[in-house]
């Protein structure tokens, strides 16, 4: 029996269908596999490689490029803390230092209870709430030291269970297989655009 569940294999097969090249499905399949295990296990990588027709080394190499894929086990909550300019000006570096102290892990480390993995991130596009953090891709901020500790406490106690799902389940692939629009719909939209353009041109020439 393979490592990936039957459900994932079924989803994978649907995904493989919608790309002209099998290997294009590599990233979505990695998301699926990470959804199962929380990180990309060697077993999953071997199976994905087999599914998309590349070598395990290539799958691992490709996945390693992206911060959202983990090649090592991570905690239930992946805390990504932005240290880019807006957040930095609002004290992100100090917050990151505090986070390391209070969680007792280094950057990239996972707490001993397996609850938290702390990451330093580039801009998360949450500058309006700087300094901001993402926990399993959900935004929190602006945060000060106390706010961060409270957030950690709430996550630990399960208070935010509904708001912050467990790591690994955020999965665009899960929600959406391929194009939602049919080719007919796409064509219809294009036609509308074309006719609108013609109208505009006609008005323009009239004006001239």
């Amino acid at each position: 029996m393979g490592h990936l569940s039957e459900e994932i294999i079924n989803k994978a097969n649907i995904l493989l269908e919608i790309y002209p090249n099998k290997r294009s499905a590599l990233i979505p399949l990695c998301h699926l596999a990470q959804g199962q295990d929380g990180y990309l296990t060697p077993e999953a990588i071997v199976e994905i490689a087999d599914l998309v027709g590349v070598t395990p080394a290539e799958v691992r190499g490709t996945a390693s490029f992206y911060d959202m894929f983990h090649l090592e086990p991570v905690g239930k909550h992946v805390v990504a803390m932005c240290t880019n300019i807006a957040c930095m000006l609002r004290g992100a570096d100090e917050l990151l230092e505090h986070a390391q102290e209070s969680l007792d892990v280094g950057i990239g480390g996972t707490t001993q209870d397996g609850q938290f993995t702390l990451e330093e991130a580039e801009c998360l596009a949450g500058c309006n709430n700087a300094p901001c953090v993402q926990v399993n891709h959900r935004f929190f901020g602006p945060l000060d030291n106390e706010g961060f500790d409270r957030l950690v406490e709430d996550l630990r106690s399960g208070k935010l269970k509904d708001e912050v799902p467990e790591h690994g389940v955020l999965n665009r692939v899960d929600r959406n297989y391929g194009l939602k629009a049919t080719p007919d719909q796409v064509q219809a939209e294009r036609d509308v655009m074309e006719s609108a353009k013609k109208e505009r041109l006609a008005k323009k020439s009239e004006a001239n």
Partner: protein, 904 residues
């Protein structure tokens, strides 16, 4: 530049050419050619790391930035990525370019450890050289460099030092693009990028050595060369690899009279700079402890060192007896290890002076001499340029790895079609229409392929048949088909191969069809061409056409054809043969019927072995003569295409070993005969005079240099246009060249070769060229093709090996590159690579015997049995068991129907 200028330029030019200006020099190059190559044609060298002429450009290292004029002013562009176009103005020397080069080098060196004094690459390192030539001289980087454990072994042959890596991606691209097995890839991003394998899967590619060869820094090193030499101690010579019948061109490099490294030379016609690991690292067998150091004779039951005088005396005495009476009581097996010159010398000794025709170079799986010589041969380039390639028989990756690369390249880059007829699916199958076949149903399968209707139960046959038909029906002589063939089984000649080939010839009669035989032994073609086979004489002629030879002293030439290896061994086993001479062949491990070989060795009176290493057969010899080997000897080599190229000596051999041709001359001399030559040149001259297909070959060989020359002389047009020399392509060769040992010593390639008085290449044929009448095109008789799938077995009337009981199943023995022959066994590093002892079976057979992947099975043939691990492979033909030609399978030769049992 005005637009009218441009129009003028275009009018003047051939549409496939473009004209551009590089540093003020106008050059005309092919459209689409990259600026970096165009610059080379203008005599300008652009520094580079990632660019390799045999791989697709990627433009990642940024070292080759040049300034290109554009409407918005000059801009820096990577010259390895921008194609040349009409009217371009390129500057490779501007201030901006120099500043960019400075910057790129300073950047590349940020994390480079600068451990040049202890780095194997130091002295031949493009990073080192180009930093001196184009670099800033100083770095502003004072922070801590990144650190990695160094070096780590990524396979048993290759070690990786990630600190030295500059991420040029040459190695990862090679393994994906050229070898098709991306077992290494980049891991991580930005300054954390490293080359990595997948943890449980080492970089065990057959082509891994090439990544070391093209690494522009010291990141990848090969174990056999690590810390063996400094580049400035190296000497080199251009030679030919003798590990298979492809005959790749190599630079054999030595230090202190010891071969330390082989590098592939970029020869367009053959290996295009690549080598397989067997060819690259096999040289270590020169220094094996098993190497024969002195002549030996069995004296009072023990094999003991003796002097050459004693040994030659003994051998001459035996031979002289046979010369006097009983020339049919001596037999000679082997010879594919030899150079052409040595093969000629032995043929002359045995056929011309002793008078026996029992000589067989024993390329055991050869089809027939008729098809080998009668069919129109394809060169490797012609195969790669064909529209349709049909491979019959062996897995080319195992038997001719570089040919495999060339065919793969043809399919991917030129979209050539491939039909693969073989016993199991190979790495080429994913690009091919694979048709499964085993030894016994070969004729049927070929018939149904050509007849088109196979009862349609086999989809692959139907698909392949359609493809063949569509090509044959184009009836266009410009459409070309190449048939690359060998036996299905490593041990058994395929008796109906010739019939199948002639059927194919008839089928494709309206298009151009050519054939390439994949011989299983290195210089088998050369040995046959020099007459080492019953009824053959040098130069592809036969006994009846011996007139020329009589003039140069072949006085005792027999008139009746002799017998081949199998029959010789049978005679020996029945004590009907007095003397058996083995030349570089270890019949007790290599011959397909071990029982017969053992009997023969036990019952023959004199067993004389001329060999390089001690092996199980010559350990029982009456007399063993040590010969030179590999880079110790000079001569020529004829590959599967019939291409003759030079083997050059670089080092001296063990003190008492002698080159084979000299052994023959000494024996003849001791017999009181005169061979008529005393040097290699004299042999070459004699071959040039008396061997029809080789008339003029010595001159041709010298004139053409690196690509060699295809025999029969003048039969193939040869291009002598070379790409501009790229010193970074194979850094190890260029740097050794600079140090004063030019690679092409003695074989300078003239830029325009037009000496009317000597051998002329290309369209003008040689005045004295003649092809022997006996081997005209095979007469095409598509016998029994009409009857459909009923031929095959019925025609197969030969006695050996035994018929197969098809109710049980059939064993097909296939060759593997890393086998357990003398070469691999005696090469220090290669011998450590584990060969897996597996039997491949089809899922249906696995079902019927009830075994799963990972189980052990027992194969029984007659009274012999052997155990294997099972691999269930849907690519294997039904009712067929595929085993490698390794020790474990050897006990199974030559018995009746195979039984498969699951071992619990």
């Amino acid at each position: 530049m005005t637009s009218s200028d441009q129009t003028e330029d275009k009018v003047e030019l051939d549409p496939s050419k473009v004209k551009l200006t590089i540093d003020g020099i106008e050059v005309v190059v092919n459209k689409g050619e990259l600026l970096i190559e165009a610059a080379a044609k203008a005599g300008k060298f652009v520094p580079r790391f990632c660019y390799h002429p045999r791989m697709e450009p990627v433009g990642v290292c940024r070292m080759c930035l040049v300034e290109v004029d554009s409407p918005r002013g000059p801009s820096l562009q990577p010259s390895c990525y921008v194609p040349a176009d009409n009217g371009m103005v390129v500057n490779t020397q501007s201030e901006a370019v120099k500043k960019a080069q400075n910057g790129v080098l300073e950047y590349l060196l940020i994390n480079h450890p600068l451990d040049c004094p202890v780095c194997d690459k130091g002295g031949e390192c493009p990073l080192q050289d180009q930093t001196v030539a184009y670099g800033p001289g100083e770095s502003r980087f004072i922070e801590e460099k990144r650190h990695f454990a160094k070096p780590i072994a990524i396979s048993q042959l290759v070690e990786l030092d990630r600190e030295r890596c500059i991420q040029c991606s040459r190695c990862t691209r090679f393994s994906e693009e050229i070898a098709g097995e991306a077992e290494i890839d980049f891991l991580g991003r930005g300054d954390r990028t490293e080359v990595a394998i997948f943890p449980s899967q080492p970089f065990d590619s057959y082509f891994s050595g090439n990544t070391v060869q093209i690494c522009p820094v010291g990141a990848l090193t090969a174990k056999p060369y690590r810390f063996k030499s400094r580049p400035w101690d190296l000497e080199q010579v251009e030679s030919t690899c003798t590990s298979c019948s492809v005959g790749c061109r190599v630079a054999a490099q030595s230090s202190a009279n010891q071969v330390v490294r082989y590098l592939g030379i970029d020869v367009d016609e053959i290996n295009q700079s690549w080598l397989c690991d067997r060819g690259r690292f096999g040289f270590e067998s020169i220094y094996s402890a098993n190497r024969l150091q002195a002549p030996m004779m069995t004296i009072s039951g023990y094999l003991q060192d003796v002097s050459w005088a004693q040994a030659i005396e003994k051998v001459a005495e035996v031979f002289a007896e046979h010369q006097l009476k009983g020339a049919d009581k001596i037999g000679i097996i082997g010879g594919s290890r030899l150079t052409n010159e040595s093969a000629y010398a032995y043929t002359k000794l045995f056929k011309g002076l002793i008078g026996t025709d029992n000589v067989d170079a024993a390329p055991f799986n050869l089809g027939s001499i008729n098809s080998l010589y009668g069919l129109k041969t394809a060169t490797i380039n012609e195969v790669a340029e064909s529209d349709l390639i049909i491979t019959i028989g062996s897995n080319l990756k195992e038997t001719a790895p570089i040919l495999f690369l060339r065919i793969r390249d043809a399919i991917l880059k030129r979209e050539a079609k491939l039909v693969e007829v073989g016993p199991y699916s190979t790495p080429l199958s994913e690009y091919a229409t694979h048709v499964n076949v085993n030894f016994s149903n070969f004729s049927e399968v070929i018939s149904s392929l050509l007849n088109g209707d196979s009862g349609s139960e086999n989809k692959q046959i139907t698909l392949a048949a359609e493809l063949l038909k569509s090509v044959a029906q184009t009836a266009d002589a410009n459409v070309s088909v190449a048939i690359v063939y060998s036996s299905i089984d490593a041990n058994r000649p395929l008796d109906n191969l010739e019939a199948a080939l002639s059927k194919l010839a008839t089928f494709f009669s309206s298009v151009t069809v050519r054939y390439l035989p994949v011989l299983s032994k290195p210089n088998a073609m050369g040995a046959l061409d020099m007459g080492m086979y019953p009824n053959l004489l040098p130069g592809r002629s036969v006994l009846s056409s011996a007139k020329l030879l009589k003039e140069v002293g072949w006085e005792k030439l027999p008139t009746k054809a002799g017998v081949d290896a199998t029959n010789l061994l049978e005679m020996a086993a029945a004590s009907k043969l007095d003397t058996l001479v083995l030349i570089g062949t270890d019949i007790l491990t290599d011959f397909y019927d071990l029982e017969l070989a053992e009997k023969a060795v036990a019952n023959v009176k004199n067993l004389i072995c001329i060999d390089t290493h001690i092996n199980s057969t010559n350990a029982k010899a009456t007399c063993v003569l040590p010969a030179l080997y590999d880079a110790e000897r000079s001569g020529s080599f004829t590959n599967m295409e019939g291409r003759v190229s030079k083997i050059a000596s670089k080092v001296t051999g063990p003190s008492l070993a002698v080159d084979d041709w000299a052994i023959a001359v000494q024996i003849a001399d001791s017999m009181g005969e005169d061979m008529g030559f005393e040097s290699l040149e004299e042999i070459q001259d004699e071959i040039s005079q008396v061997a029809p297909a080789y008339f003029g070959f010595s001159k041709g060989l010298n004139a053409l240099g690196e690509s060699g020359v295809v025999v029969p002389m003048g039969s193939k047009p040869v291009s002598i246009e070379r790409r501009p020399h790229d010193p970074i392509e194979v850094p190890g060769i260029a740097s050794t060249n600079h140090q004063g040992t030019p690679l092409y010593a003695g074989a300078v390639i003239p830029s325009e070769y037009s000496d009317e008085n000597t051998f002329k290449v290309g369209s003008v044929s040689m005045s004295n060229f003649r092809l022997v009448a006996e081997f005209k095109e095979i007469t095409l008789e598509p016998k029994s093709a009409v009857s459909g799938g009923t031929s095959g077995d019925d025609n197969n009337s030969n006695s050996r090996p035994a018929d197969i009981d098809r109710n049980i199943c059939e064993m097909v023995v296939v060759e593997s590159l890393m086998d357990d022959g003398t070469l691999i066994k005696s090469a220090a590093t290669l011998s450590e690579i584990k060969t897996d002892n597996v039997a491949k079976i089809s899922p249906s057979l696995a079902n019927s015997v009830g075994c799963h992947a990972g189980d052990s099975i027992k194969l029984k043939l007659g009274s012999a049995e052997a155990e294997f691990d099972v691999v269930v492979d849907s690519g294997v033909a039904e009712n067929t068991v595929i085993v490698k030609k390794l020790d474990a399978s050897k006990v199974l030769y030559g018995s009746n129907g195979l039984l498969v049992e699951v071992k619990k």
